[in-house]
């Protein structure tokens, strides 16, 4: 067989390429963290056996806290249910092991699945709610888990709890040292995944959705799915941590999992800094410090356990909140930034140029109506945007221009009529799917993702065309994912270069001027490779020179085959860029044509232009 050596050769070259890639991306920081991890693994040698149980227990709690960081930090979901998921994992493990006689590994898997299932259900049930209601629902969930465990001794073993059988895996008994090593490895993996994902693939989409939901949806980010995924992952990690922690302590205590634990984990995440991988671990360490101090004082004064700890945790949280509430790591990070200026990453000198549109198609709206109560915002609107043309939508304030744009983008549903791109019927499709098919809108207000860098903003848009950007591929940095990521970065840089923002692409978007932010919105939209671009007053607040540049940009987009629908008040600007103009009044189209034709129209003159000469 002659194919075998060829396959081997391919594998070998792929492996060398991967090794080269790894060497190239390895940095001093990575070496530092690897050393820290190795040093932490050696801790059991220096500690007595009794302390080791505590330490392993801390590591499992830290794992749950980092899991909560996925929901709170990455997705911005205020979850007060992490203690409940931890308890659900713990009791799934305890019941299947102590009562069902299931071996350790399958029951661990079961515990994770049960916790993840509860996470999916909670995430689905609360996914449409605003933050306050998510907090309340997860809080109630924590109470329910506590009440169920404490009032049904038949399930939970009552006051003594469930005593676990000996923990054995593959004939080996799990010692506290083994638990510590397992816990630390899992914690390391969870931290690494957080760090890798926070600024790539799904993490970028989550950050975009956290800051500006509307803008993220407009760029085709599947915000709802990503949030559900982050919440489920967070619950599953808590379940795993809970299950392992009962194996460690050998007893499942029904009163240990509930609102108090949820609160402590929540505080740990905020105290340390929700958007930093290590934030939750640091926060939990501070709380553990409180709790040790509280235990010493409490024991000396003969207080019931836990009371002082709660009080100190509460005061600690209030102190941090009183100081501005950003958490410890963000403070440290801001200080570090002041001390040492961040270096710009070096990139290829000549960014790729924007590609011509792939498969241009006309956008057509037929008989589109939209009512808000008794107000007829759009009345049987007819509109067509040909590929390679700029179509301006003008009209007095309140004539329905922005509503028309939102209905076409899918941000608002139409009550009547149809919207199509070429032969593709878009009517009824949600916003991200329209973006996927090539109709991409920007917001009227400046809506950049302020926490992300300029490049990351554009990468959110470029993410729409990525096919290998799931959490697992992104985490394992598979060759496919890396190639995909490189292409996305090229697209993003090309879009930034097109609007003139490629210099300083590592700046935070919040540092840009208002006009630059509008350009960045356009760049993010262009990075999605749209066929039709919808712009709502892109020229608002621009200076004369900026207007000039913007007009050039739009004409250049037209020449690449893009259809552009633009709302604009500035008629001089409209005259410079628009091939066709549609005039709206009170939700109805009163004229379409070139600006000169429209200006000559009697209805337009009386409705709108009478006061302004063209």
């Amino acid at each position: 067989m002659s194919a075998a050596p060829a396959v081997l050769g391919q594998t070998r070259s792929a492996l060398t390429a991967a090794a080269r890639e790894l060497r190239a991306s390895w940095s001093r920081t990575a070496t530092l963290w690897a050393l820290v991890f190795a040093a932490a693994l050696l801790a059991p040698a220096a500690l007595p056996e009794g302390r080791l149980v505590d330490l392993a227990g801390f590591v499992y709690l830290a794992l749950a806290a980092v899991g909560l960081g996925y929901a709170m930090g990455l997705a911005g979901i205020p979850s007060l249910g992490q203690g409940a998921f931890f308890g659900i994992g713990a009791f799934a493990e305890a019941i299947s092991r102590a009562k069902g006689g299931v071996p350790l590994l399958p029951s661990l898997l079961l515990a994770v699945l049960v916790a993840a299932a509860c996470g999916v259900l909670t995430g689905l049930a609360t996914g449409r709610l605003r933050g306050a209601f998510v907090a309340v629902s997860t809080w109630i969930l924590s109470w329910i888990v506590l009440l169920v465990l404490t009032s049904f001794p038949g399930i939970s073993g009552g006051a003594q709890g469930l005593v676990m059988p000996e923990s054995r895996v593959l004939g080996q008994t799990l010692t506290p040292t083994a638990h510590y090593v397992i816990g630390l490895t899992l914690l390391g993996l969870a931290l690494l995944a957080f760090a890798v994902l926070a600024h790539r693939g799904p993490g970028l989409g989550l950050a975009a959705g956290r800051d500006q939901v509307e803008a993220a949806l407009g760029l085709g980010v599947p915000v709802a799915r990503l949030r559900l995924g982050a919440f489920t992952a967070s619950a599953a990690i808590a379940g795993l941590a809970g299950a392992l922690s009962v194996e460690l302590s050998q007893v499942a205590d029904p009163s240990a999992y509930g609102p108090v634990l949820s609160f402590e984990l929540f505080v740990a995440v905020i105290l340390g800094g929700a958007r930093y991988a290590l934030g939750p671990v640091l926060g939990l360490a501070v709380i553990a410090g409180f709790s040790n101090a509280a235990e010493e004082i409490g024991a000396a004064r003969g207080l019931p356990p836990g009371r002082l700890e709660e009080m100190l945790t509460g005061y600690g949280m209030l102190l941090v909140l009183g100081l501005g509430g950003a958490g410890l790591l963000p403070y440290a990070d801001a200080w570090w930034r002041r001390v040492r200026h961040r270096r710009e990453q070096s990139r290829a000198e000549t960014p790729a140029t924007l590609d011509p549109v792939d498969g241009p198609a006309p956008l057509a709206a037929h008989g589109v109506s939209k009512r808000f109560g008794s107000l007829e915002a759009l009345d049987r609107l007819e509109l067509e945007v040909a590929p390679g043309s700029v179509h301006a939508l003008i009209g007095p304030n309140g004539s329905g221009k922005t509503t028309a744009l939102k209905v076409i983008a899918g941000q608002l549903g139409a009550d009547d009529g149809s919207i199509a791109l070429g032969v593709d019927d878009l009517t009824g499709l949600p916003e991200p799917e329209r973006a996927e098919r090539g109709v991409v809108g920007t917001q009227q207000t400046t809506a950049v993702f302020a926490d992300l860098t300029v490049l990351e903003n554009a990468l959110v848009g470029a993410g729409l065309r990525r096919r290998s950007a799931g959490p697992f591929r992104t985490f394992f940095r598979t060759p496919k994912a890396r190639a995909d990521e490189r292409r996305a970065e090229e697209r993003a840089l090309a879009a930034l270069a097109f609007v003139g923002l490629d210099d300083g692409a590592d700046r935070r978007a919040s540092e840009l001027t208002a006009h630059e932010q509008r350009l960045l919105m356009i760049a993010s939209a262009l990075a999605t490779e749209p066929r039709v671009l919808l712009l709502d007053e892109p020229a608002a607040g621009a200076s004369a020179a900026e207007l000039e540049r913007l007009a050039d940009l739009l004409r250049s987009l037209r020449d690449r085959g893009l259809g552009v629908l633009v709302i604009e008040h500035n008629l001089r600007f409209v005259r410079r860029v628009a091939d066709l103009v549609t005039v709206l009044e009170a939700g109805r189209r009163i004229a379409t044509g070139t600006l000169a034709e429209v200006a000559a129209d009697e209805a337009v003159r009386t409705a709108y232009l009478g006061r302004q000469s063209l």
Binding site: G76, P78, L80, G123, L124, A125, T126, G127, R128, L129, R130, G131, A132, F133, A135, V136, S137, W139, I140, L141, W143, I144, L147, V148, S151, F152, G209, V213, E214, A216, L217, V223, A224, R225, R227, L228, V260, F263, F266, V267, I270, G298, G302, L303, P304, G306, R307, L308, E309, E310, M311, L312, T313, G314, Y315, M317, L318, L321, G322, G325
Partner: protein, 311 residues
């Protein structure tokens, strides 16, 4: 029959207190969008501060207190509740509201709850405390108990129901009929407009946090003598009030109060009644209302129009 009467009266007495909490949660939520998680523990704090002023941390009995000192203690407890309610709003909640940080105010209200709970628990270490009755109900009936339709009922249960209804009416009246109330309604529906019209929005909201704290403290002080009060009682009362408020989606004072009564009745019925030989028993009395509220939230959420970006 006698059991049914007993269930109804005890249920309404407990529910009246939940109702007052629900009125407080609703008012605060409608004004600010904040769910005030510290509410229950704030009331615990008021009750135990009253005990502290009245008799230190020693246990007290109905007759051991001089009436003057007890009255002073009640007043101090009430004022503390008002003061702490308003102060925590200004110091910890408002800054995060202004920034639109949900994580921030959730953390703040919960931290206040646990700080208060831990503080009370560190000072009052017995399992439970008797709260003396400010009014001499034990002189009515047989040691404060009367027989109605064959059921033995504490006289003060009727007082609790009536007083709670009176407080709810006062809250509704304040909201509808007074200048302060109308200003609050303006703030709730249009905070920016209210600010523009020259209303001192921050001060009015802080005042409301204080008043709502005082309202709940009154309700708790009225209810506390009915049964031993523990460090956790306030948090549990608060939780049930929150459930009631959720059921009516933080609605008007009367709706919230009615929901509180409903939760109280349901709890008493689940605890005690056997229908067709099927009894659930006390272990379900607390869980089922919570589960019901959670299910209701999920149901409403799934039936609602999808908010952009939410599942």
């Amino acid at each position: 029959m006698s059991l049914v009467v007993q269930v109804i009266v005890t249920g309404l007495a407990a529910g009246g207190v939940y109702g007052i909490f629900a009125v407080g949660y609703s008012l605060i939520y409608r004004l600010t969008g904040v769910v005030y998680f510290a509410f229950g523990d704030l009331v615990s704090f008021a009750v135990f501060a009253t005990l502290l002023v009245a008799a230190g941390t020693a246990p007290v009995s109905q007759t051991s207190l001089p009436p003057g000192r007890f009255l002073l203690a009640l007043l101090v407890g009430l004022l503390l509740c008002v003061g702490v309610g308003a102060a925590t709003y200004i110091l910890f909640i408002e800054p995060y509201l202004l920034r639109g940080s949900t994580l921030g105010w959730v953390a703040a209200t919960l931290a206040i709850a646990f700080a208060l709970h831990g503080m009370v628990g560190a000072v009052f270490t017995r399992p439970a405390y008797v709260f003396p009755d400010p009014l001499p109900f034990d002189e009515l009936g047989r040691d404060g108990v009367v027989s109605v339709a064959g059921a033995s009922i504490q006289v003060r249960s009727f007082f609790v129901i009536g007083f709670a209804a009176l407080l709810a009416a006062a809250a509704a009246w304040t909201l509808e009929r007074t200048r302060h109330g109308r200003a609050l309604q303006a703030i709730a529906s249009e905070p920016e407009g209210a600010r523009f019209a020259g209303l001192p929005v921050e001060r009015l909201v802080a005042l409301t946090f204080g008043l709502v704290g005082g309202l709940a403290a009154l309700a708790a002080v009225v209810a506390a003598p009915s049964a031993p009060f523990t460090v956790d009682t306030g948090a549990l009362l608060g939780l049930k009030g929150l459930v009631a408020a959720l059921i009516v989606r933080f609605g008007s004072p009367w709706a919230a109060f009615a929901a509180g009564l409903g939760v109280g009745l349901a709890e008493a019925a689940i605890d005690n009644l056997r229908i067709a030989d099927l009894g659930l028993g006390p272990q379900y009395g607390e869980i089922l209302p919570l589960a019901f509220a959670l299910g209701l939230i999920a149901y409403r959420s799934l039936r609602s129009e999808p908010v952009p970006g939410r599942a």
